[in-house]
């Protein structure tokens, strides 16, 4: 660079460009986040400290009373139990199945791209359509699942009515939609595992399973952590599936005995059926905190997946 023509003014512009431009490029995200993310978050926090019913526009400052009420609310604990149950029933099998599918897709296959695209298909279908179809499959009188049970001589199950049965049915919807998605993420990660590790293992006489468990899984650790955390966040926010699973009545109680009402659904009930916006906001913030804690716990546990 010739220093003859560059006065201090030009240097300043250059400095600004080098140091400033990156901020400029990332700024739209943070501004957008501030408007559509941060503001609602803080506003919700404010609303959660008030008693605000939509039908009665007077707003009253009540401090932490909504949170205290929540801790003593049976229906909230019931919803939390359902959420955890559905989350466990869906996430664990889902991630295991995704690992297995990714492992299979990572082999030499005919029409490999077709299969790889295929596993993502369930994820791009409409969640509403999927849930309504599954609700029909799990129908009490004419559902296909009960029909299949009948074929093998088992009694039909009233899927919607039972606690465990409804959780299993809803988990099936989640598993069906998200397994392929996670499988593709695992597949991408698997392709970065150096081939010579496997070669060395094969020379040492390691079986397919040992290779998978001792090489693939440890190498995928960061990816597994990522999917586990993302699935946890999604699993705790689940609302559309249990809402639509309730026989198309648009009712947010999650079954006649709230047997599959999740926290998200309870929030929706309080906010948009009872119009208790203050209470609903308190649920939203509590849910947010629970998700943060669960994500951290998850992170700590999955970090321990390690074999050497």
């Amino acid at each position: 660079m010739t220093s003859v023509r560059s006065g201090p003014r030009r240097r300043w512009a250059y400095q600004l460009d080098v140091k400033g431009s990156p901020y400029l490029y990332i700024a739209p995200f943070f501004l957008l986040f501030g408007v559509v993310g941060m503001f609602p978050l803080l506003y919700t926090a404010y609303v959660s400290l008030t008693d605000w019913n939509l039908l009665d526009p007077a707003r009253e400052w009540v401090g932490p009373a909504n949170y205290a009420g929540l801790l003593a609310d049976d229906y909230f604990w019931n919803a939390l139990f359902n959420t955890v149950s559905i989350w466990l029933l869906s996430t664990v099998p889902q991630l295991l199945a995704a690992l297995f599918i990714a492992h299979m897709l990572n082999r030499r296959l005919r029409a490999r791209t077709l299969f790889r695209m295929g596993v993502l298909l369930p994820n791009v279908t409409s969640i509403v359509a999927v849930t309504i179809i599954f609700a029909q499959l799990f129908g009490r009188d004419f559902g296909m699942v009960n029909w299949a049970l009948d074929l093998v001589g088992l009694d039909p199950i009233d899927w919607q009515a039972g606690t465990l049965s409804s959780h299993v049915a809803i988990s099936m919807i989640v598993i069906w939609r998200w397994t392929g998605y996670n499988a593709l993420i695992y597949l991408a990660a698997m392709q970065t595992v150096p081939e010579d590790l496997y070669e060395a293992a094969r020379l040492d006489g390691a079986s397919q399973f040992t290779q998978f468990w001792k090489i693939t899984v440890p190498m995928l650790r960061p990816t597994i952590i990522f999917t586990a955390v993302v699935s946890t966040i999604g699993g705790f926010q689940i609302i559309a599936e249990p809402l639509l699973f309730q026989a198309g009545t648009g009712n947010p109680t999650g079954g006649s005995d709230r047997q599959f009402q999740t926290v998200g659904l309870y929030l929706y009930e309080q906010g948009f059926s009872m119009y208790e916006f203050g209470y609903a906001s308190a649920i939203a913030w509590t849910l947010c905190m629970i998700i943060v804690v669960m994500a951290l716990v998850n992170f700590a546990i999955t970090r321990r997946i390690r074999s050497s």
Binding site: L24, L31, T249, N251, S256, D257, F272
Partner: protein
């Protein structure tokens, strides 16, 4: 912070605002370039207006009408949210009987129809229909469309197989009251055709029974009386007894399984307000001529019926008010009744021969004009309180819990009272 950094931050802000600041634009009430006024209607279910729009548009070349429908509960929830937030409603919103009291309590959100000639139109409606949408302040927030009126629909073929009479007059004699209706249910159940229960589901029968009571879920001072109203407890007990006798198909009303129930002949009778006829036809097409309509046990009673309102936030308030006045006028209501069987709440229609003489081919030529106008004239109106719709849902869930075998009647009742208390607090 150096001057450079401040300038940088300012620049970032400006660009960011440019990138994100394209602002919100109202989605309803737009006036397109050709000068037409678009009126939007948010309805739930089939209200029978579709054929009428073209007629109105032909007579009013500057008006374009767009109808949107959603599910019953979703519709009313969205309406409440949009009213509270001050934007997002359609120009015209339908409100059902179960929710009208809740919205009547917030008249400030609606156009007061008194200022738009409502007083001259007042005599069109059954007096109780007019009063049900009248706010305490005296403001009229809506014009009545249909009323439920109650009848009982039954399947002739299933009755015949169970050895019961099939003629509608003789069937009416089987059940002068609900006790004899459930007695008939016992006789039916003893010889019933495989897979076809006597009625569709406990909550639906319960609704019909409560529709006849003098007092429902509220007294006229808007106090909830679910726990103390003897009519509610006795209807609850009677329904659960019939459920225990195996008379119920245990289907949740308006659910997909219930819809399938029509097609699969899962029940022989269903309490049918006038609007139910359209439902039965839509879902059970294969059974034309097998369905019939007769008197409901206990006589009279109402279940359902709607109102058309114009939210104050409508951009075309005048045009919208003119349209709802037209849609609820007797001439149009007659057309809705003759085409869809949805019963008008406008009194003048009840003397018209095309209404009183109307027979329904699908329902074995049942004289539905006569049945439903009689029901509407004789019914004793019941006062509807603010959260009637939600309380009805809580009771429905209680009866479902018993049907699903999860609780006995007493446990379900106690839990339901707790739910009702939460709703009404």
């Amino acid at each position: 912070m150096s001057a450079g950094r401040i300038r940088l931050a300012a620049g970032v802000l400006v660009i960011g605002v440019l990138a994100t600041g394209c602002g919100g634009s109202p989605s309803t009430g737009s006036t397109p370039a050709d000068g037409k006024v678009t009126l939007t209607l948010n309805l739930f279910g089939n209200m029978g207006f579709k054929e009428l729009y073209a007629k109105y548009e032909a007579a009013h070349p500057n008006i374009k009408i767009v109808e949107r429908t959603s599910a019953y509960n979703d519709h009313h929830r969205n309406l409440a949210a949009h009213l509270a937030t001050g934007s997002g409603t359609a120009d015209i919103e339908a409100i059902d009987t179960g929710f009208v009291a809740q919205f009547r309590n917030q008249p400030q959100h609606f156009a007061d129809l008194r200022g738009h000639g409502a007083d001259q139109l007042k005599d069109r409606w059954l007096p109780w229909k007019w009063e049900a949408s009248l706010a305490k302040s005296g403001a009229q927030i809506g014009y009545g469309t249909d009323v439920g009126g109650l009848a009982m629909c039954y399947r002739r073929d299933l009755f015949e197989k169970a050895g019961l009479p099939t003629d509608r007059d003789e069937v009416a004699k089987l059940w002068p009251d609900w006790t004899s209706y459930f007695e008939t249910g016992k006789r039916y159940t003893a010889k019933k055709p495989e897979g076809a229960a006597f009625f569709d589901g406990g909550p639906q029968v319960f609704n019909a029974m409560i529709g006849q009571a003098e007092t429902g879920y509220y007294d006229t001072q808007d106090n909830v009386v679910v726990a103390t109203n003897p009519a509610i407890r006795s209807a609850y007990d009677e329904v659960l007894k019939a459920v225990a006798d195996g008379q119920s198909a245990e289907l949740v009303g308006s659910s997909p399984a219930w819809n399938t129930g029509f097609a699969k002949s899962q029940f022989a009778t269903i309490a049918c307000p006038a609007w139910m006829l359209a439902k039965i036809q839509d879902q059970g097409k294969a059974f034309a001529g097998q369905w019939d309509v007769t008197a409901v046990p206990g006589g009279g009673g109402n279940w359902g019926g709607s109102y058309l309102t114009v939210p104050a936030q409508s951009k075309h308030l005048k045009e919208a008010v003119a349209l709802i006045a037209w849609l609820t006028a007797p001439e149009q209501q007659i057309e809705v009744f003759t085409k869809h069987g949805i019963l008008p709440s406008t009194v003048a229609t009840y003397d018209k021969p095309e209404v009183t003489g109307l027979k329904h081919e699908f329902f074995n030529d049942a004289p539905i004009g006569q049945i439903f106008t009689t029901a509407a004239r004789t019914l004793k109106p019941q006062y509807q309180g603010p959260r009637a719709g939600d309380i009805q849902t809580a009771i429905r869930d209680a009866i479902n819990r018993v049907e699903e075998g999860k609780q006995d009647g007493a446990e379900a009742w106690t839990q339901m009272l707790g739910d009702v208390e939460r709703i009404s607090k």
